[in-house]
Symmetry: C2
Subunit: 318 residues, 2 copies
DNA sequence: GGGACTAATGCTCAGTTTGAGTATTAGTTG
DNA sequence: CAACTAATACTCAAACTGAGCATTAGTCCC
């Protein structure tokens, strides 16, 4: 559209809320072209990125954000696929994506949230190792990963990223795993980007990808968000920005497990949590579960202090 | 220069190297307008930000970078002061800064490095708590901080940021402290930005600032870098990207202390370090110190693995 | 060649924190 | 009221930490 190439700054937000089942994402777009809430930064109108993000997420989805944090700025040529319906970028423009993560406090089941939400493991099935689902997804990928790992360097990268051969699974290395799958051509975006840069839209053999794709580089941004959130849980009391105001320790544990995609040892989880001083019991009980009623807790005031640390994650044995 | 406002992406790099005395920064600019190595992203020529950063740091300073990591993208209106000698931005443009941190492996004393280097504590005297210097800087600031802290909310922010009233000092909260000082008008950039936005260049009363300013928002980027590096030392073996290939444990401890600005307990530092498996002894000794000769160590191969953790920082008592 | 001096290493000890379980308890449901 | 289901308590050994005291291997100087 413009004679000289312009830089367009795209802002994308990973908006996470916890439902009863697990972390859910706020999505926008139409079927077949699903993406994160997205907008272009207006150099005149917007004073800061964060205000801009809050602004268009609310206007696009009707949802108002709480905690917001910048993730990363992606500028690689060839990974962005301009979003058609934005109508603001032409092929001559260079799109730079600034990714944000926003956390929305849990909403009581049944109460309606604005916007379309989806379980984030739809896009990363291999990241959910709470039950056998994630393992199954990984098993589906393994033949192709092994086929790709022709050198020892690649084999060791695969082993480190996916915790094979005695290496341990690091729940926060979501981006490493995704980038490795991208490089190996095992996620749909890889094929899309290659087709675009080769100019060919060759009818590739129909392969069954594990995990749904997202528009543009949004799945990469989502991977960054998941990784950041999983890592940050350990050193900041950030989980409380996702949890409801009052919760039982089991509910909190389920939430942490859902976010991190791992199972934790129940008794040890509650022990370290109580010792940490991050929570304090309200007097009230919660009896809906069919077992012994649980004490309801809230985050303590010390959990709001600057230096407050996060949760320890005592893994449950296999 | 252009009719429609454009977004200019400025890339700034905090390049850190360890000298014998402590962390040093690569600087560019002329006396009175010192800043970080800086360049504008070229939407046509540069394929990725990281390549662009490596490129212009080398061309501006003659120094080739090793480890590089993106820090943060700053887009607030009013905090950037366009760098005059870049000649690429006009007042109508919106400048967005993408900050990077780069680590250069220590150079043996005496060997020459390209570029101009300076101790990073020149810009943050209050961050060096290894000796009394940092405390003295903090004492100089306290009267003004107290005068600014007129509400209990501000008082508690000061206490949390600077570790007062029983709160502990968090070495990685460099940015929080800097932003607080900026807000309180106790760093020179605050006055500069206010003068600019008020259009007045009133001859303010000459106040003695603690810590030297940098061009544009570069000191903020530097604070982000220091904070990130200090935090990351604890959970990633990143210190080895700063240390020389072979080092004694005391040298490594001095380096960690210099980066983090705190004193560590010597015996406990070496104990956790040896147990961590991050280092392994070479056979060689190092006898230059006048005491018992020290074993020379290198980082182990396990320290290069994806999940390898960082160092624990056993603080020395006051 | 021995004593003073200086770092680097070694070791100890008690108090905490973790990993892994086993044992109770307080509601709900048939 | 017995069976069932969670929540909560308690235990125990192993590993990790904070604080020191103790020992060693060089250099420097008479």
């Amino acid at each position: 559209m413009n004679a000289t190439p312009r830089v367009i700054i795209g802002l994308s937000a990973v908006v996470v809320a916890a439902s009863g089942k697990g972390p859910e994402l706020l999505l926008s777009g139409s079927p077949g072209a699903i993406g994160l809430p997205f907008g272009s930064f207006d150099p005149i109108g917007h004073r800061t990125f964060e205000l801009a993000v809050r602004d268009f997420v609310t206007s696009q989805t009707g949802f108002a954000l709480g905690y917001v944090e910048q993730l990363y700025t992606f500028g690689d040529k060839g990974r962005e696929a301009p979003v058609a319906d934005m109508g603001q970028s032409s092929d001559a423009d260079r799109v730079v994506s600034v990714g944000y993560i926003a956390l929305a406090s849990s909403i009581v089941e049944g109460q309606r949230r604005a916007g379309v939400w989806a379980d984030w493991y739809r896009f990363f099935p291999w990241e959910d190792r709470r039950s056998t689902g994630g393992m199954r997804a990984l098993e589906l990928l393994m033949p192709d990963l092994n086929a790709w790992a022709t050198t020892t360097e690649r084999q060791s990268r695969v082993a480190m990223a996916f915790g094979l051969h005695g290496q341990s699974w690091q729940e926060s290395q979501v981006l490493d795993r995704f980038e490795l799958l991208y490089e190996a051509g095992l996620v749909q975006e890889a094929q899309r980007d290659r087709a675009k840069s080769h100019g060919s839209v060759a009818p590739e053999l129909e392969r069954a990808y594990v995990g749904e794709p997202l528009v543009s580089d949004h799945r990469r941004i989502l991977a960054t968000a998941m990784g950041r959130l999983r890592a940050k849980i350990r050193y900041r009391p950030i989980i409380f920005d996702l949890a409801p105001v009052r919760f039982t320790l089991s509910e909190l544990q389920d939430l942490v497990e859902a976010v991190c995609g791992v199972k934790l040892h129940k008794q040890n989880f509650r022990r370290t949590l109580e010792r940490s001083g991050l929570v304090e019991s309200t007097g009230a009980m919660h009896a809906e579960t069919g077992g012994r009623p649980a004490m309801l807790f809230t985050r303590s005031s010390t959990s709001r202090q600057a230096g407050a640390s996060g949760l320890s994650l005592p893994l449950a044995k296999r």
